[in-house]
């Protein structure tokens, strides 16, 4: 079952990405189309540390997480929040995020050029594991994804700040009137989700072996598909969506590589027909009321 192995790796990358996307949407109600390009920022930050700084790729991944976190927080603080304060409608915010993404993507292209590049890593042998073929690096990526998800679960469920985040996501106004500093909580959520975004960007570039400035934006739709699959704004739903879409698309790729994306989107289509608001709607209907204002 080599397909299952690839599927689990893709699912791990996808989980990091779509959970971050969902978290941003949850606290800020913004469909952030610049998300894929922040992934690219992470991938290139890791590239700098890895090839120019001659450090290990895992140090590069940490740098990617920091860069993603910084970029995300900056975009939210300096672009999205001022626009929201100015009263820009939510459907126009999608255009704002699209513009930010376009600027980022083309900015990276202007600086780095269109050529493909790869990380400096030593080639390694595949290990046979439960019938799957995986390299140690792929296993590490999966372990990092599991660790990140566990940490996020602990933060969201058992800490004060996690509770504040969930409260802000469920009803920001009510949370504010209960004394939650929603501004700070939102900034923190963007920092955390940006770190997840940067990490997944590095993991994606590592898994693809070669990448250029389109690496994140071309993956964005699959990230969005798994986030919508599991109801956007629901980190746990996004995990489930990532697992299903990641594994299914890699299994389909065995039949025909061009099927890979089609299968992801067909799955999304089916879930939308059966459950229009995703797998795990939860607080979704409350968010509808928020969006109407």
């Amino acid at each position: 079952m080599p397909g299952l192995g690839f599927g689990l790796v893709t699912a791990a990358i996808l989980t990091l990405g779509s959970v971050g996307f969902s978290l941003q949407f949850g606290v800020s109600n913004i469909f952030n189309l610049a998300y894929g390009d922040v992934m690219t920022v992470g991938a290139f930050a890791a590239y700098l540390v890895n090839t120019v700084g001659h450090a290990s790729i895992w140090l590069g991944m940490a740098a990617g997480a920091v860069a993603g976190s910084a970029a995300s927080t900056a975009i939210n603080t300096f672009v999205y929040r001022p626009f929201l304060r100015r009263g820009t409608a939510l459907f126009a915010m999608v255009m704002v995020s699209l513009a930010v993404g376009t600027i980022l993507e083309n900015g990276i292209q202007a600086i780095a050029g269109p050529s493909y590049r790869g990380y400096r890593v030593t080639p390694e042998k595949s290990l046979h594991l439960l019938g799957m073929l995986l390299t140690a690096r792929q296993l590490t990526v999966m372990a990092i994804a599991v660790a990140c998800m566990t940490a996020l679960h602990v933060i969201l469920r058992y800490t004060r700040i996690g509770r504040a985040m969930r409260a802000t996501a469920a009803n920001a106004e009510l949370a504010r009137s209960c004394g939650v500093g929603t501004g700070r909580v939102t900034t923190l959520a963007w920092a955390v989700s940006g770190a997840l975004c940067g990490t997944s960007g590095v993991a994606l570039a590592l898994n693809l072996a070669s990448f250029n400035f389109t690496v994140g934006s071309s993956f964005l739709l699959v990230v969005v598909a798994s986030a919508v699959f599991g109801s956007v704004g629901q980190p746990y739903g996004a995990m489930a969506g990532a697992l299903v879409i990641g594994v299914a698309s890699e299994l389909a790729a065995i039949v025909s590589p061009s099927l890979k994306q089609v299968v992801a989107f067909v799955l999304l289509a089916i879930i939308l027909l059966v459950r229009p608001n995703g797998l795990w709607p939860g607080t979704y209907l409350q968010k509808m009321e928020m969006a109407a204002r």
Binding site: V96, T102, Q109, A110, V224, F265, L268, P276, N277
Partner: protein, 327 residues
């Protein structure tokens, strides 16, 4: 004017007309109804495809390309069928894209739909001739012109202008009608509108269909001028450009949209041709797209209404003196 300049002017004018029609369609959706159709270019390319195959003749007769639905229909029919096909595709897509309740969710589904369509076209060459597209699409009435390409070109400009006038009359009527009022109400507050008993989803479907039909018509007009259809020229970037044009010109204002189409899709795009080449191939485009992104942000920040903002509409209740009261 030398014939080269004349031909350049003809090309610019036809493109301007086509872009204007498309922008009016997208404006009806984004500017007036507030729905985000990220698959907009899909409808334009469908219209172009339908108009091509309906004038190319049966596919069996062709030695170098494969396509479906081949026929040779007299002139206005391919354009009309293309328009109808755009509306039908919009109906099919909307039935599915409008399932989620939130508008930005719906926008994502449209984005996904356009990506799937692009993948299918390229990976299934037997349907749409794959990456190679279509070539040698016949031009209407070209046999009647002995004066050569330039004379025919001006005729085509006049034809495009005629279609523009017709479409303008239509969108002008639509935006001023009670339906237009309903659409603007939906943009401002869909929840409040549905509390008044209006079926918001049905209105969204209608505006998708009308806008999709207009996009398809613009594609049909374009394809019979350039004579070829290639899947590579209908990407998400083109949709993005249309959005920039509408936001710059004035979302919700049909006249503003014309200005936006002229400035962004005409002037801004053409200016790039006259810049000296610099850097590697693609650098100029990436800087151009960065500039477009900045343009969107600048306009949404300083002039969210665009260059010619939407006219403020006020509705007054008719004054009627109360019966028996002072007159």
């Amino acid at each position: 004017m030398s014939s080269a300049y004349q031909y350049y002017a003809i090309t610019l004018l036809v493109y301007f007309g086509v872009n204007t029609i498309a922008c009016w369609g997208l404006n009806l959706q984004y500017g007036i109804a507030g729905v985000l159709n990220f698959a907009f270019i899909l409808f334009q390319s469908l219209g172009a495809y339908i108009a091509s195959v309906l004038s190319l003749g049966p596919a069996e007769g062709s030695t170098f390309q494969t396509y479906v639905l081949g026929a040779t229909l007299p002139f206005p029919v391919p354009w009309l069928v293309a328009t109808a096909a755009g509306g039908l595709l919009a109906l099919a897509v909307a039935a599915f894209a409008l399932r989620p309740a939130r508008r930005d969710f719906q926008a994502m589904v449209m984005l996904v739909v356009s990506i799937i369509a692009a993948i299918l076209v390229v990976t299934e060459p037997s349907w749409f001739n794959g990456q190679r597209g279509l070539a040698a699409v016949p031009k209407p009435f070209v046999d009647h012109f002995s004066g050569g390409l330039i004379q025919y070109g001006w005729f085509y400009v006049a034809m495009t202008g005629g279609v523009c006038l017709l479409v303008y009359w239509f969108v002008h009527r639509m935006t001023g009608s009670p339906w237009g009022l309903r659409l603007r109400a939906m943009r401002e507050n869909a929840e409040a509108l549905s509390s008044l008993g209006v079926n918001v989803k049905a209105e969204s479907v209608k505006v998708y269909v009308v806008g999709g039909a207009m996009a398809a018509l613009s594609g049909a007009v374009l394809v019979q001028f350039i004579g070829g259809w290639s899947p590579g020229s209908w990407t998400i970037n083109e949709t993005f450009l249309y959005f920039v044009a509408i936001i710059v010109g004035g979302a919700g204002n049909n006249a503003g949209v014309v200005l936006g189409a002229a400035l962004v899709l005409g002037l801004f795009q053409e200016a790039l041709r006259y810049l000296p080449a610099f850097g590697y191939a693609g650098l100029a485009e990436s800087i151009q797209f960065m500039a477009l992104g900045v343009l969107i942000l600048a306009f949404l920040w300083w002039r969210p209404g665009g260059l010619i903002p939407e006219r403020r509409r006020t509705y007054r209740a008719p004054r009627r003196p109360a019966p028996g009261g002072p007159t």
